[in-house]
Symmetry: C2
Amino acid sequence: MNGAQKTPRTPPIDPVLFAKALADETRQEIMKRLCCCWLSVTDLVEQMEGRINQPTVSHHLKKLEEAGLVRVRREGRHRYYTLNQEHLTVCCDMLVTTFAPQQTDVDHSTVL
Amino acid sequence: MNGAQKTPRTPPIDPVLFAKALADETRQEIMKRLCCCWLSVTDLVEQMEGRINQPTVSHHLKKLEEAGLVRVRREGRHRYYTLNQEHLTVCCDMLVTTFAPQQTDVDHSTVL
DNA sequence: TATCCTGATTGATAATCGTCGATTTGTCAA
DNA sequence: TTGACAAATCGACGATTATCAATCAGGATA
């Protein structure tokens, strides 16, 4: 009885990294499929119905993970991914704040 | 007494277009400089202090305009740009909504 | 008109990025 | 061990994109 494990690292709060992670149609489709459940890479490949294959899905998941937008859970030989809703919300709030007027350069390198 | 004129078209609500517009460091810097005032292309080029030149600034402004993130005002031979705060907020809200769970595919092609 | 100024457009180039086939790594079950 | 499966990594290729120099279009002023 082990293996189950959450992503530990605090997600990066970086407006450019965040936007780049979202700046792809395929990645957004993956995010939609992960918004309500945990799916493995194989699950995602199946749901894409031959439009993209396994290495590509892995590649996109890596980018999303680097941006802190997905959580990973390892279970046996599977890895289950799900969307990190909280971080998405935090980043969206940060965007609005970053580009708000009367802005005196908020520091986003440290988590609030 | 004429010339002064706002951008008429309702900005597009498209999560991928929005993210792509934000997915560049230079563009985000331009957005920061436009968040509190109206600046001309020449103003922006000066503020960038030789790091990017005029055609590049124009190119970035075009992308931001296509995403509805800047407003333009023509005045004589000048064109003044400023950030469209409202649309930025709308798009961020849309992102959170789009990837929220219990989502029954909200239509974003029509403005709310 | 001619000239100057502002900013958009074009064409070329280099860098980045998405995609895939092939391979590798890691885990479970015989 | 071995074999089977899941998923990451690697290398290559094509498409997209950021950038710049050069040019062009429109408006102001003389």
